[in-house]
């Protein structure tokens, strides 16, 4: 039953107006997605089209003209971006932050998941505590970490106590190091998600394969590297892609901790677009930048997801039904 039975049953259509009759000719399956389609058209398609247009013209709201009256300049914006060092720095900084944070979140998440794999005392309570950071709105996390890393803050004090020498470093004003509290905040915020995903993944492993490996003489090391990890690969891949998609969009944390500063030292692409777009009003320029980022992200994700897509195609439930 791949297609539903057309909307209404043909009970008494004679007396209904033309609207009703048209409605019953369109299957229910289409009606159900109309609201979503409307929203998507307004919030996805229209903005995308406008954005593409903006990137190909020269326009700012301060020009005082409608966007359709803007001068068409082909790919000048894009070319200019390639020589804009601030943009390029923001661009690469974004991917640097993404790669580092996702990787570390993954390590911590996996490590913790392995620790709670078997029963242990207080397991449920510990898991509840460990996932707490994920519940925080990112802005509040940013606020919290801002307070932690301030010169007079507890982090500096702890380091002083540990190192034995006075350590009072203004983390968030340092061009080289301000990025670290931000990344630590991001990792703190989201490692619980990786943790939950890994716990779920480990739980879903086929127990008999694990037992078989045991009986065949595998050590715990072997068991992990040669059996569990390969079985977890698809889940790990999904988790990494989903997280990466979100870290690329990182804004709240950086805004509240450093505003992208000092100067432009912690600017990622979103901060850049915010400042250039909404402070300098260079809408066209920024739109082009956004498209560059999107294209780069899509390329990376498709590359990462390729092995998964093969497997999904093989076990498509519809082809199973057809058999």
């Amino acid at each position: 039953m791949a297609e539903g039975i057309p909307g209404e049953t043909t009970r008494s259509t004679e007396n209904h107006g033309i609207l009703r009759r048209t409605a019953s000719m369109i299957p229910l399956s289409v009606w159900l997605i109309v609201p979503v389609e409307i929203i998507l058209i307004f919030l996805l398609i229209a903005p995308s089209l406008i954005s593409i247009w903006l990137s190909l013209v020269s326009w700012q709201p301060t020009f005082g003209i409608g966007i359709l009256a803007a001068k068409f300049i082909w790919f000048k914006n894009y070319i200019e971006l390639f020589t804009d060092s601030r943009f390029l720095w923001a661009f690469f900084r974004t991917f640097y932050i993404t790669a580092t944070c996702v990787f570390l979140e993954f390590l911590i998440g996996l490590g913790l998941a392995l620790l709670v794999e078997k029963t242990l005392p207080l397991r449920k309570l510990l898991i509840l505590i460990l996932i707490l950071p994920m519940m925080f709105p990112p802005l509040v996390t940013g606020n919290s970490f801002f307070m932690l890393f301030v010169s007079e803050g507890p982090i500096n004090r702890i380091i002083t106590l540990v190192l034995g020498i006075p350590f009072k470093f203004d983390w968030l004003s340092s061009p080289t190091y301000a990025i670290y509290p931000i990344m630590i905040g991001e990792i703190w915020q989201w490692y619980p998600l990786m943790f939950l995903i890994m716990v779920s993944g480990l739980r879903g492993l086929p127990p008999n394969q694990l037992h078989a490996a045991d009986v065949l003489g595998a050590s715990r090391w072997d068991l992990f590297w040669r059996i569990k990890l390969p079985l977890l690969k698809p889940i790990i891949l999904i988790a990494i892609v989903i997280r990466a998609m979100e870290v690329i969009k990182l804004f709240d944390l950086i805004y509240i901790m450093t505003r992208g500063g000092p100067g432009t030292a912690t600017e990622n692409i979103n901060l850049y677009m915010y400042k250039i777009g909404l402070k300098d009003y260079r809408f066209s320029y920024v739109s082009a930048g956004a498209w560059l980022v999107l294209i780069a992200s899509v390329i990376i994700f498709v590359y990462l997801l390729k092995p998964l897509l093969h497997k999904v195609g093989e076990s498509d439930p519809r082809t199973e039904e057809a058999k």
Binding site: L120, L126, P133, M135, P138, S200, I235, A290
Partner: protein, 289 residues
């Protein structure tokens, strides 16, 4: 899992985890402490690990409770309550819209496979756009209809951004319902929409609740869009928090922490309520516990 008494190995792991938990909870602890510290202890160095003079002044100042007005020098600082209410209004409304549209679409995708592989992935791709990139064209669009700094403008935007979650999560829940139940209802003469409304939806009640709470949390926590598209009238809770930095009097740690806590508490409560389904939510239905 085997039921056997805990061995030394197990206790060792618990100890390690307790230590890790302490480290992870520390930022929260610090925030709570800051929110109840008196003004002179905010920036004291060495920091006050545990205040002996807890006070609710920070909360009072932002909530505008006037029996003991504490002015930290920030005009407009007592606007927490309006911000919270506006945030609630926007979040709840957007959740309703997103859930309504999303559930219907999810049903169509799950049962009728509408749009094949393309439509669901297209909806998912909405999450790939950096919000800023969408905000700029939205501002252009909204300015033409006067929707900037408007409630409906923000609500519609939020609904759109959370659609991928509502569609994919509900699809995942609906997929779990065996088709046989629906087919039996159809054989008994129910129209297709009736089946959706009277048969399927009640079965996925929990799924609806979970997805709705999840989306509410996302809306409530959202900052960027509210910040950029509204400047005066529509101030949501996170935006208000950000405003507690002022050029005039520097950073108001205490009130910030207090507001942070206020924002966080509903989220934490709801989050724990749906914690079983968090993995499913964030992976768009790919992983079910």
């Amino acid at each position: 899992m085997e039921t056997r008494p805990y061995g030394i190995n197990d206790w060792a792991r618990t100890v390690v985890l307790i230590l890790i938990s302490i480290v992870m909870v520390f930022p929260v602890y610090w925030m709570v402490m800051t929110a109840i510290k008196p003004l002179d202890e905010w920036l004291k160095y060495p920091p006050v690990w545990f205040t002996l003079r807890p006070t609710l002044d920070c909360f009072r100042s932002i909530l505008g409770v006037l029996d003991k007005p504490i002015d930290f020098g920030n005009p407009g600082q007592a606007a927490a309550v309006p911000a919270i209410l506006k945030g609630l209004f926007v979040s709840v409304s957007a959740t309703f819209i997103s859930m309504g549209a999303g559930s219907m679409a999810a049903y169509s995708i799950s049962r009728f496979r509408i749009g094949g592989n393309f439509l669901p992935l297209f909806i998912l791709s909405a999450r790939m756009f950096p919000p800023i990139a969408v905000v700029l064209p939205l501002l252009v669009m909204y300015s033409n209809v006067g929707a900037i700094d408007s409630y409906w403008g923000l609500i519609v935007a939020y609904a759109g951004f959370t659609l991928p979650f509502s569609v994919w999560m509900m699809k995942s829940f609906i997929d779990d319902v065996p088709r046989a139940i629906e087919e039996a209802a159809i054989i008994e003469g129910m129209g297709n929409f009736e089946v959706f409304y009277k048969v399927t939806l009640p079965i996925v009640k929990t799924g609806i609740l979970v997805t709705a709470l999840f989306i509410f949390i996302l809306n409530w926590s959202e900052f960027l869009v509210a910040f950029t598209m509204c400047y005066d009238r529509v101030e949501t809770a996170p935006v208000f928090l950000a405003s507690l930095f002022s050029a005039v009097c520097g950073t108001l740690y205490g009130p910030q922490a207090a507001m942070g806590l206020i924002i966080v508490i509903p989220v934490v409560i709801f989050g724990y309520l749906i914690q079983e389904h968090l993995a499913r939510g964030f992976t768009f239905g790919a992983l079910k516990r």
